[in-house]
Symmetry: C2
Subunit: 466 residues, 2 copies
């Protein structure tokens, strides 16, 4: 029996604040960072390690690393096969220290830390079965998948039996969907063109490049200044609606199948994202003023904890044809449960490491399927794109069976630091990860850790000397 | 102009897990702990320091201390009078680092840390004016109080103008309430008798002692085992309903003025507390089974994030005469806003350091007053009783003007570690803190820090040697 023997933690920070990448109305300077953990075992196979991480934007990454230490410590000495046999129970165990629970509970630093550890355990599980993570899970029986899910506090919205029924209904054509998505890739959208810190020229150039690359969903950051938002929005709209920029052989998607009236003449779709800058009444007024941009949805219009606020905003914007999305800061399945119960959102934007790892993500995917709301995971930062392609594949193949309105965020930053980087095909779609050794695709190059570990990596030392 | 020059942080932990104090269905072993911060200034007056803390139950207190360092650092070099002149703006500033915000936002470790720092700043402010904290704030004009309040994300529930109107309506008889509460004390309830870790004999003995001490509100922990809950509940009920145990000169409160049919024949009231152990449907079924105990409310029946769940539980228990309370884990004003908007609770249980300090507490007190829901702060642990008497005095004198249904938790643990410990008069009421030097009453004895600082205090070193 293989046993988890020790763990290693790295505080890795990339100096993205120097380039203006990742700037929005709330987050004005970000050093994309990874609180990175590796679980080691006594297996004679040296490749059998579990890598996991959570994402932060700089300061505080050390605090998360300290919390990961406390959580990872709980797994030392545990038999891997016992943990793998009931991943729902293992998730409960990871979160069950009552003293650590107090400083959450199930939120903030300690939940981010639990995410890194649960993700590392799932990575280890997938590698032990020689499958990429998504394949491990879509090959589960419905019973195995339900057993792997974090169900505490959500049974008023979905019971394990209801989840089983959903999964069983998807069984028959699971193989077809798997073959189809491997052949075609998974639909993606780009955010990289629309950061607030970029000049108009850079926005225009990046938008044209994205259209050329085959994308047809584009997201722009808003909320710092309405005139600037309208100006940049018109620039983006003018490019994505203009058939002359389309790549040869472009086939516009059926607008009815995606977002109805929000799609422009080329089938292109624009989304806007405010990163929580407004109070509820402000959000409604401001976004009404952006109606001419015909956005599919406004993302994070207000505080991520404000379920009833999102419901109020959605109701007020509905007559204007604008939906509401949130989730990258929705800190656990209980928040998503209520966003769905209150009919507060049109799109569920899970985050792969703000939710406490795969087991909690499965809970949200099951609830979203039951409530019939599409899941468009948050990505970008560092490592998130590597993670979320797995989650969207699980959602499509095994849970929702739907890909019509589901697009997966893509940001072209920092993939070079990963041993199995995500990648996009010529139709602007994520390629399906297929290497049996890649697990959850989050292994970072040793050289990247050596360079960007904070504060003693070669990069940070060289900066400190200046 | 006085300037904040540096800060000092102490990780202080009391070994309460050895005695079974503080045990409930969720928290099976607790070492009550304080993440304690002191702000120093360049004032020639050495007593002009700001002490603040947040409360945890052991492991993880070091993580909170690390986060306090990041937050306290933001105040170094700031002029105190500039900060004091607009405490709402100062609160925004304390929370405004975008990188640190990411690892909350406004929740968990980073919010607990912000609480300690904001509380320390308020302590400094009160000491600089030679007033206890409550007196500093009740002497504010309505405009000053509104300016001191954290208003972001709540203007859909209460605007600054609405808050002003509430405060102005309370102005006329503020002095009368102040004089009355100084003379009589502030109503309290005891939790110390009903911990799950105590034997039946100890529960009975402590309940009799509490009745003798003048208390008439009692709280019991439930949720681990229904038979045990009923057995212990009947023991408590049999004592508090029996007039023979009442102290000489006891005057029963008018049951109509407090909790109606939940008061027993002596006017005594029982509350029950489940510390989040149930899913929503379980909570409803379990608590119905405790109806014979006639509890005023069930506290924390489910996950603290579940606003809609609390609303569902409240609706289901209403026909059984049982109310719902929560708040000690409600992590910010946005959660309380929604609990009030959704009519989910009968009692608002603010926590003095889970909310990010006095400025955020003021926001919740103002919303509770607008919605007409009584505030019964969470206390116990270490330091919380010292804190909350100030908050309840502010609520009664300046904001709600009501004391009828407001009782303040009291637990008789660990007060000896404070320079200005809270205390209870012979009618089971909190005495009003009156020393002009005590600020927010949270200064800890240097000897206590020396003994219980973790891991290098004399107590912890002596334990490690064994």
């Amino acid at each position: 029996m293989t046993t988890i023997t020790r763990y290693e933690i790295h505080d890795v920070r990339f100096p993205t604040s120097l380039s203006g990448d990742g700037t929005d109305a709330m987050n004005t300077d970000c050093d994309y960072s990874s609180a990175y953990v590796t679980l080691f075992t006594d297996s004679p196979d040296p490749s059998l390690v579990g890598n996991g991480m959570t994402f932060t934007i700089g300061r505080g990454n050390d605090i998360v690393c300290m919390a990961i230490r406390e959580v990872a410590h709980r797994l030392v000495g545990k038999k891997t096969e016992v943990l793998f046999a009931d991943m729902g129970k293992s998730w409960d165990y990871i979160l069950a220290d009552p003293q650590l629970r107090w400083i959450g509970p199930e939120k903030g630093v300690i939940h981010l830390a639990s995410a890194a550890v649960d993700n590392a355990l799932w990575d280890l599980f997938a590698k032990s079965r020689r499958k990429p993570l998504w394949k491990l899970i879509v090959d589960f029986t419905p019973e195995e998948l339900v057993r792997s899910t974090a169900f505490r506090y959500i049974t008023d919205a979905i019971t394990p039996d209801e989840a089983l029924a959903i999964l069983k209904a998807r069984e028959t054509d699971k193989k077809d969907r798997e073959a189809q998505v491997i052949a075609q890739g998974y639909p993606a959208y780009v955010t990289s063109a629309g950061w607030i810190g970029y000049s108009d020229d850079k926005v225009a150039r990046l938008t044209k490049e994205a259209v050329q690359a085959g994308f047809n969903h584009f997201k722009m950051k808003v909320g710092a200044d309405k005139h600037s938002d309208l100006r940049r929005g018109r620039i983006i709209r003018s490019i994505i609606d203009d058939p002359t920029y389309l790549p040869p052989g472009h086939v516009s998607p059926d607008p009815k199948s995606i977002v109805g009236k929000n799609a422009g003449p080329t089938g292109s779709v624009l989304m806007i994202d405010a990163n929580q800058v407004w109070d509820v009444p402000q959000a409604i007024e401001y976004v009404k003023g952006l109606e001419e941009l015909k956005p599919w949805f406004i993302e994070e219009p207000t505080a991520p904890d404000d379920i009833l606020g999102h419901a109020a905003i959605r109701k007020a914007l509905k007559p204007h044809g604008i939906g509401v999305a949130t989730g990258e800061h929705a800190h656990n399945r209980i928040v998503f449960k209520q966003l769905l119960q209150a009919e507060a959102i049109d799109v569920v934007q899970i985050d792969s490491c703000r939710l406490a790892g795969v087991s909690e993500v499965l809970a949200v995917l099951l609830m979203a399927a039951k409530f019939g709301v599409p899941v468009c995971p948050h990505a970008g930062g560092v490592g998130l794109c590597e993670y979320v392609i797995h989650l969207s594949l699980i959602d499509y193949i095994a849970i929702s069976g739907s890909i019509d309105r589901n697009v997966l965020e893509f940001v072209d930053h920092l993939h070079e630091h990963f041993v199995y980087p995500c990648s996009i095909n010529s139709h602007g779609r994520y390629k399906v990860p297929l290497d049996p050794k890649e697990g959850y695709s989050i292994e970072m190059h040793k050289a990247s850790i050596g360079e960007f570990e904070f504060p003693n990596g070669t990069y940070w030392k060289s900066v400190a000397r200046k």
